[in-house]
Amino acid sequence: MQSVLPSLFFYALATMILVSAVVTITRRNAVHSVIWLISTLLGIAGLFLHQHAEFLAAVQVIVYIGGITVLFLFVIMLVNLDEAAKKKQFAGQWKIVVICAGALLAELGFFIFKGAEGFYFAEPAGGSLQPNTQLIALALYRDYLLPFELASLLLLVAMIGAVVLAKKDLK
């Protein structure tokens, strides 16, 4: 019954995420970094899809890839890239980095070594595999409809406030 295909998908996506993430932080050109970040986020969206979390996958694509990285690109365009490229890319704190990474690796290694007993698993989230898009919709538009609508007012106030306080001269 257990097919080999899901694990294949997982490993392919994991490799894509890890490689892109490493490349993201090692590129000198900030625009290249953002492009690789998009690849990382796409991989994570793929993992969500793999876990039958269709809604999260879609939101990941729309919000993170569509919205936040575009915002990053805007910010990058506003700063002086040539100036930044000349700066030293890493702070040179190698000793601290090695110690932290070593601790993290030891921790991970311990749990991988112990296997499943090392964790207290809650009920597997995807166990019953309900259509989660519908569950989220019910939570947002039925159980928490009022706070959801209030959030829109909150954002409106924040937007008006930003314009009122930051606009140069209204005369």
Partner: protein, 495 residues
Amino acid sequence: MLNEYFSSVDLLVLKPAILLTLFAIGVLLTDLMLEPEQKYLNAVMALAGVGFAAYSLGPWPLGLQHQMGMAGADALEAFRGAVIVDSFGIYFMWLFLIAAALSILISIRYLEIEGEHRGEYYAIMLLATVGMMILAIGMDLITLFMGLELMVISIYILTGYLRRDRRSNEAALKYLLLGAFSSGILLYGMSLLYGLSGSTDLRIIASSISQRPAGDPLVLIAVITICGGLFFKIGAVPFHQWLPDAYEGAPHCVTAFMSVGPKAAAFALLIRMFLVPLASVRDVWLPLVIGVAIATMTIGNLAAITQSNVKRMLGYSAISHAGYMLLGIVSGNENGLKGIMIYLMVYAFMNLGAMAVIVAMRRKDIIGDEIDDFAGLVYKSPTAAVLMLIFLLSLAGIPPTAGFIGKYFIFLSLIETGHYGLAVVAVLYVAVSLYYYFQIVTSMFTREATDNVVPALSPGIRLALGVSLAMTLFIGLYPNPIIEVAGNTVASILR
């Protein structure tokens, strides 16, 4: 099938809030079409919004229920229990609408002098009022928190509304940073309550908290963090440092608004939290509230003595008033809560009245909030001086003004529940407060005027002053109606 998700009761219950939102957006839109000298029409539109919202509440005090043909029902639930409109909520909604209306009236002239007369001001004020309403009727942690943030973020913006004024900018930044910090603490407590009960509904939280063993550390942390967040919002010691700065730096009319509306809303939230989810752990929070109440009265009253700025002094006096109101929570019986209700309503009129006089003192080159600016006011404008005297007497709690009635019920409840020591302390601090209020009075009546600038009583300020004066004296001389209404209100939450 649709009814399962959304019903007409939901809409009716939120009608005042929806109307205010619509008018806020309307003000934003019509503002674009107005010439600079017509900007007062924004205020008219905002006032119309407040009026419609008040009309939709129906005849005082329980019109909403009658209107829906549910006269027998004590409370209406909507949005699957996220909000509950009982007489407690309706009382507070009236209070917020009154505060908003009077604040709008005194804003018009002030904003014209400052050259910042724009529609956004009124829109934000109306949206802040929506947030307050949600605080008064919310029964769900997420709803309450959204209402709270809607209110405070609006107030941060209004505090920094005078962009060219350094004091205003500084006050807004301080208020924003400390406010965000305290919201975080409050949210931490709320998340603990959710973790303890698995629900965001206050009533379900109440039943699961009451089943926890006594002295449960998690409950203890939840209570302490929630108290910390709430005490910040009402400006109680030791979370009061933001308040004098924010009051002093904010535009006069915003100080008036924020000293009344948001304060009452924070008290509504505090009463709701203490009486519903945290009712069973009264032993845990009672010593905390007693300590904070004493500290609040002490710092508020003593620090007010040394102030030379009237707005700052009223800020410290607002701190001390929060201390008196906390005493009503300490006694926690019917008279104590009735006292808080009456106190908040009375405070709205007398504090807005006093602030309206300060707003009138604002002239082209005089900020008008130093005690020295009040020197010899009685020779320049006897009306303003006498009005200020009455409002200050009321703030101090001298009969026959309304301030006496609020303090009377709180002190009465303390004696009923055997807190004699607290009652004595509170009365002593009333004597202290007389001293600093009379610093302004002596400045107005006994000193020579230093200039000939007569305070400008614009029609809006006249109306606001008239209403405040009438209510301060009416409630003081004939308190029976408001005592009856407050009694019903308290009955609806103590059930």
